[in-house]
């Protein structure tokens, strides 16, 4: 039956394979630009998936070597260790996100002190980036994007709103809800949701049953927006109760085209993946670097513009 020797042989073979692969990559041409991303976003997250696509496309187009790393859970200590490890491998440029300044400031500072140019994307903001000595910040200020969403809803004359958060505890989603309340100028309750689409949909139905006077539902990501649309459909409230969301997906864009959703807020995160690779390539070759920050969002995709980006969303570029 079970023999240990049988198991060990393929295991050793596999390990030898990995070692050879690692050796081969380290022998790659030394003049090739190497950019490493260390972010808090798993590539399984639809939002970060687009960032990684941007990075991959830039690397392919420009002939640059780019790597993407993220801890498998929201573990800031581990992310700090990853930044240290990557800094020690001396890449030509490092791209980081800083969702927790207290935990990540020291590793980022050390990397910069060791002579590695750093661009900060998505989380961290402009001030922190420049305090640490980073080159520039690229991304969407989540709180500010929320404020702009709130102002748009206020302009429609709506006051009773709810923020449907499918991933409670993620601070950038909290920022989106908080900014929204600020922009709307009234208290906005947060509905705690889940990733599971059936439970999320049924929670929205339950919330709307208990709070029938709600006029607007803000979803803070595609995983919350699609079940919200399904819930409104099921209750016959589609189009009557207004809704909008952060981030895009083909389903969201179709709903915007059909008038079931006001807008989707695009952080244009593809640029956060693509442009740093190009910048570091120019930096290595010609010492060229833009001198100002690069805000990528918020871009509001509305009924007029949604149809034109559906195909791009299917490809994971928007």
């Amino acid at each position: 039956m079970f023999s240990l020797a049988k198991l060990i042989k393929p295991a050793l073979g596999l390990m030898a394979g990995f070692t050879m692969m690692a050796a081969a990559t380290s022998l790659a041409a030394a003049d090739e630009t190497r950019v490493v991303f260390v972010t808090h976003g798993q590539s399984g997250d639809p939002y970060w998936s687009v960032v990684k696509n941007g990075m991959d496309d830039a690397a392919k187009t420009l002939g640059v070597k780019a790597e993407y790393l993220a801890p498998e859970t929201f573990d800031m200590a581990k992310m700090g260790q990853m930044i240290d490890a990557i800094a020690a491998s001396k890449p030509d440029g490092m791209v980081v996100s800083i969702p927790d300044a207290a935990a990540l400031s020291a590793p980022v500072k050390n990397a910069i002190a060791a002579g590695i140019p750093v661009i900060v994307i998505d989380s961290g903001g402009s001030k922190l980036t420049h305090d640490l000595g980073g080159l520039l910040f690229m991304g969407q200020d989540e709180f500010q994007a929320g404020v702009m969403a709130g102002e748009r809803i206020k302009a429609l004359g709506l006051t009773k709103a709810v923020c449907a958060n499918h991933e409670v505890g993620n601070s950038s989603l909290d920022d989106r809800c908080a900014g929204f309340a600020k922009g709307l100028g009234v208290d906005v309750p947060v509905m705690n949701g889940v990733i599971d689409p059936t439970e999320m949909k049924n929670r929205v139905i339950a919330y709307m049953t208990a709070h029938a006077d709600t006029q607007f539902i803000l979803a803070v990501g595609a995983s919350g927006a699609e079940p919200t649309l399904a819930a409104l459909d099921e209750m016959g409230l589609s189009g009557k109760v207004k809704t909008g969301t952060f981030d895009l997906s083909p389903t969201i864009l179709q709903a915007v085209v059909a008038g079931k959703m006001e807008w989707g807020i695009d952080a244009q995160q593809y640029a956060m993946g693509y442009i740093p690779v190009a910048m570091f390539d120019l930096w290595k070759k010609y010492k060229i670097m833009p001198i100002a920050d690069y805000p990528t969002g918020p871009g509001f995709v509305t009924k007029d513009t949604a149809a034109s980006v559906i195909e791009l969303s299917k490809q994971g570029k928007r």
Binding site: S49, T198, E199, T209, G236
Partner: protein, 365 residues
């Protein structure tokens, strides 16, 4: 007279005490407790309207579909921690061939069930061949399947969500088997006589009973029959009670366990089929933590973590408690920041009450 001679080896047990010693009794009592709690705290808010009932039954049903075969597996003394990842994996297996390669939905469904059943068999084989705890083997599958799901999906689609299944499934022969509503005529009639509320636009508040609820009931009954009325059921209890003794008596323990691993994998694929066809999309994160929820439902249902004792009906009550607590809190108006605290406490109280009732019942024998 022959009928008066009684076999002295068989103890006479009254119908009542036989009922009291059933594993699902405590779970049934726990269910009543939870319903009473919500009738008091949320009775007037719509939780027990037709819409509210379908609302929590749909959540219970999806979990219950997983929990029934997981209960059988746990009675046989094994765990399957890979069912949650299997849901995500199966969803992608359905969506990618359909959306990217133009397969008809029925073919992707058959393909998915075949692949998932095969992986279930591999899980089972790995457990019985290596003798490692199934906890470890399937923990490995948990991670491997998530990684495989993500790698395949991003590699093929460049995204982590695949949508567009709705349009493709519309005219598929198997579509209504997984995503439809049953008894729409009956529901419409009940709405006409005022037993079921109406929406603002005049349609009934529910358009039918989600087919997942039918799956849940049928699957639970099938598992119950298998467990209590078939030879295979005896093998399950024997394998989980004392595997070596069972083997010596000629019970094919390995075959029994492998079959059960195939069943849990197929249940995960069924869960995924329902969710993909209802939502119209697949996502690499689907099914996250479902392995734990299924185990919770089974344990609330009175099945022992150590194996050898339990029932599929109990798992049904466990899933029902889970669904009611999950959705009920939204109707009570409690600040949802406290949601998980409340849910955990309700679970513990339900299980404590469940084991209290069971102990009382056992002592009275």
């Amino acid at each position: 007279m022959v009928s008066e001679i009684r076999d002295e080896r068989v103890r006479s047990v009254s119908r009542l005490s036989r009922l009291l010693s059933r594993p699902e009794l405590g779970a049934a009592a726990g269910t009543v407790l939870v319903f009473v709690f919500f009738a008091i705290t949320a009775g007037s808010t719509g939780l027990f309207s037709a819409k509210g009932i379908v609302n929590f039954l749909e959540v219970s049903a999806q979990l219950g579909i997983l929990a029934a075969p997981v209960a059988l597996l746990m009675i046989a003394g094994e765990f399957d921690l890979s069912v949650g990842s299997m849901i995500g994996f199966a969803g992608i297996l359905i969506a990618i061939p359909a959306v990217f390669w133009g397969w008809p939905i029925w073919l992707s469904l058959l393909f998915t069930f075949a692949v998932c059943g095969g992986i279930g068999a591999l899980n089972g084989l790995a457990v019985v061949r290596t003798g490692l705890p199934s906890f470890i083997v399937t923990l490995g599958s948990l991670f491997m399947l998530r990684g495989l799901t993500l790698g395949l999906t991003r590699g093929i689609s460049g995204r982590t969500q695949v949508s567009g299944v709705h349009e493709l499934a519309q005219n598929d022969p198997l579509n209504s088997l997984f995503s439809g509503q049953v008894f729409p005529g009956l529901i419409a009639r009940l709405a006409d006589i005022g037993l079921i509320g109406k929406r603002a636009d005049g349609l009934p508040s529910i358009s039918g009973i989600p087919v997942s609820i039918v799956w849940w009931i049928v699957l639970t009954l099938a598992c119950t029959w298998l467990l209590t009325r078939s030879r295979f059921g005896n093998w399950i209890f024997a394998a989980g009670g004392e595997a070596n003794a069972a083997r010596n008596l000629g019970v094919p323990v390995a075959r029994t366990k492998i079959t059960l691993f195939v069943m849990t994998a197929l249940a995960a694929a069924l869960f995924a089929a329902i969710q993909v066809l209802v939502t119209g999309s697949a996502d690499t994160l689907r099914g996250t933590q479902k392995e734990f929820e299924a185990i919770i439902a089974v344990v609330i249902g009175g099945t022992l973590l150590t194996g050898g004792y339990g029932s599929a009906i109990g798992a049904m009550f466990g899933a029902l408690i889970f669904g009611v607590v999950q959705m009920g809190i939204f109707y009570t108006g409690i600040d949802t920041d406290w949601f998980k605290l409340f849910m955990g406490a309700m679970m513990v109280i339900a299980v404590l009450f469940n084991s209290y009732v069971r102990n009382r019942a056992m002592r009275s024998r």
